[in-house]
């Protein structure tokens, strides 16, 4: 649905949004400019927003010289992210649908327990998590990186809220017709939840891609290491090559930006309810 908005409202919206956006992107700007700084310009004070002698290409080469496995790390991250996304899409949409639409004994308690798992900071379970994965024999494998990440209390919560926002009458007709609930979920509920699925995808992809502490303790070799660890490895005890760190971070951020751009077009008012009679 497109509503025309008046000029003053537009002007105010722009002014507020752009002012905020500048603050939002400052660190990103610094990240990009530092990725192109020669080492002699790195530690100059105060902070410089643009390099005097940009050397983007040289720094990119230097990054791959320093970290020959960097593409492998990116690839591993992509694989892990995709695996977790698909896994969560299946497990969490099923579970969210179950929690939203099917009363069963203990439903609220089990849901609360799932939410409870969100309430433990990961630092507190890092060691038991490591021991569990080691005992499964999964250290240095993609099982460790993908399987546990295929379950999520957060995505469950998000999708459940989205499903609850859908008028039940739409589904009920199908359910009373005796349709298999899986068909209803696939043909009715999920298509009606496109914006929520887009939000779920943005957040899940971002979280999987940026995951650091967990992959750190379950993978030790370049074969399974993800890009966040690749970036951390650029920093030594006695040296912080900011230009390489930022070049690496930039390379890692770009795919996330592309994915966000692709998915955010699903945040368009009215697409979900358009064809549905109420």
């Amino acid at each position: 649905m497109r509503r025309d908005i008046s000029l003053p409202i537009q002007a105010i919206s722009y002014a507020v949004l752009i002012a905020g956006a500048v603050v939002m992107i400052l660190p990103f700007v610094w990240m990009t400019s530092t990725a192109c700084k020669p080492s002699a310009e790195l530690n100059k004070l105060p902070v410089r927003w643009l390099p005097d002698n940009p050397v983007c290409g040289d720094n990119l080469d230097l990054l791959y010289d320093t970290s020959p496995h960097f593409n492998r790390y990116l690839l591993n991250s992509a694989f892990v992210t995709l695996g977790r996304l698909l896994g969560q899409l299946v497990t969490c949409s099923l579970a969210a649908y179950g929690f939203a639409r099917f009363p069963f004994p203990g439903r609220n308690i089990i849901f609360a327990m799932c939410l409870g798992l969100l309430m433990i900071p990961f630092q507190a379970i890092l060691i038991p998590e490591y021991i569990l994965i080691r005992d499964l024999g999964w250290i240095d494998t993609f099982y460790a990186l993908i399987v546990p990440g295929s379950f999520s209390a957060f995505a469950l919560f998000l999708l459940r809220q989205a499903f609850l926002q859908i008028p039940i009458e739409i589904e009920e007709a199908a359910i009373i017709d005796g349709a298999n609930p899986l068909r209803v979920l696939w043909h009715v509920t999920l298509p009606l939840s496109t914006p929520a699925l887009a939000a779920f995808a943005v957040i899940t992809v971002q979280a999987a891609w940026n995951d650091f502490l967990y992959p750190l303790v379950v993978s030790n070799t370049p074969d399974t290491r993800v890009v966040t660890i690749g970036i951390a490895l650029l920093q030594g005890e006695r040296r912080t090559p900011f230009n390489l760190l930022m070049m690496g971070s930039l390379l890692a951020t770009l795919p996330m930006m592309v994915i966000f751009m692709l998915l955010q077009r699903y945040f368009i008012a009215g697409i979900s309810m358009g064809g549905v009679k109420r």
Partner: protein, 310 residues
């Protein structure tokens, strides 16, 4: 026997069928969560009754860790700091995120790029965030000090003054969280049927009235989600403390920026007091659980679901 079991699942064949479907649907995720995260959480809870330095065998100590917590001024400080940060960040974060989402839901030219700008902090490297925000708050040379110099506050030591340090930590927390909340709100806004706005327009409702009477109630399930997550996240603020105090005193001068999660991390990995740290985790869990249960109960007074549950 059989009938008792049947009744447990539901009074009618239909409700029993539904119950079985429900359990089958939630099973994969619930079992996966309980195995991969529930088991480690249980192990952490068991550790909270032990003294363990990660290397020597653990020793059962009953409630010693909890008794120590009750009298540890550093824990009390971390608890206070956490509540202060939640009070500081959650309301501002909610208002800003909702405002941005509503503004960016309008058909504005360049909207996609603005949305991207607000999402960027979620994916920007924390090292970059640390460097830039530290330098923004740096006295004399920082951007903020340039703005504040005319009122004589150019030399304010935001990052070391124990009375001020939570402000930069909170600012960075909000900065990093806005894009996340915005995404959820944007998705939630799409689920509001356009006809409702059209009906409101026909009734002559102005912009504010439409926001107040259509957007807010229809968005409430999303708002509920965002509030619950923001508070859970607020209890776990860690990165932001790390980012903003890394270059001065980690955790703030005299622990002035130390949050519960940061306190827990330091006790565990720096002091090797894993039993004590696990006790902190258990207390933190109970706290967040309490707050969340209150929210779950309170939601019936303000959250509007298009469909009744089940």
């Amino acid at each position: 026997m059989t009938s008792t079991l049947l009744k447990f699942f539901g009074p009618t064949p239909l409700s029993r069928r539904k119950a079985l479907w429900g359990m089958a649907l939630v099973a994969p995720n619930v079992l996966g969560l309980f195995f991969f995260f529930g088991v480690p959480v249980l192990m952490a809870f068991i550790t909270s009754f032990r003294e363990w330095n990660a290397i020597k065998p653990a020793r059962y100590v009953g409630f010693d860790n909890f008794e120590r917590l009750a009298t540890d001024p550093k824990f009390e400080q971390a608890l206070t700091n956490t509540f202060k940060l939640i009070g500081l960040t959650v309301p501002i974060e909610m208002v800003l995120a909702l405002g941005i989402a509503v503004l960016l839901n309008q058909p504005l030219r360049g909207r996609n790029w603005l949305r991207m700008a607000y999402f960027l902090p979620v994916v920007t490297s924390t090292v970059a965030a640390s460097v830039v925000w530290t330098s923004i708050f740096q006295p004399r040379y920082g951007i903020l000090s340039d703005l504040l110099a005319p009122v004589g506050l150019g030399e304010t030591k935001w990052l070391v003054d124990p009375g001020l340090v939570l402000i930069p930590v909170g600012v960075v927390a909000i900065w990093q969280r806005l894009g996340f909340d915005m995404v959820l709100f944007l998705a939630g806004l799409q689920a509001i049927p356009g006809e409702l706005y059209e009906a409101a327009l026909i009734d002559g409702a102005n912009r504010w009235q439409r926001f107040r009477n259509v957007t807010l109630p229809m968005l409430s399930p999303t708002t509920f989600l965002v509030v619950v997550l923001a508070i859970i996240n607020g209890f776990q603020i860690f990165d932001q403390v790390y980012v903003m105090t890394l270059r001065t005193v980690p955790g703030g001068v005299g622990g002035s920026a130390t949050t519960l999660t940061y306190f827990l991390y330091r006790r565990a990995f720096t002091n090797s007091e894993f039993g004590y740290a696990s006790a902190v985790a258990l207390v933190l869990f109970l706290l967040v659980l309490g707050v969340t249960v209150v929210q779950l109960v309170m939601q019936r007074y303000w959250v509007y679901y298009e469909s009744d549950e089940g």
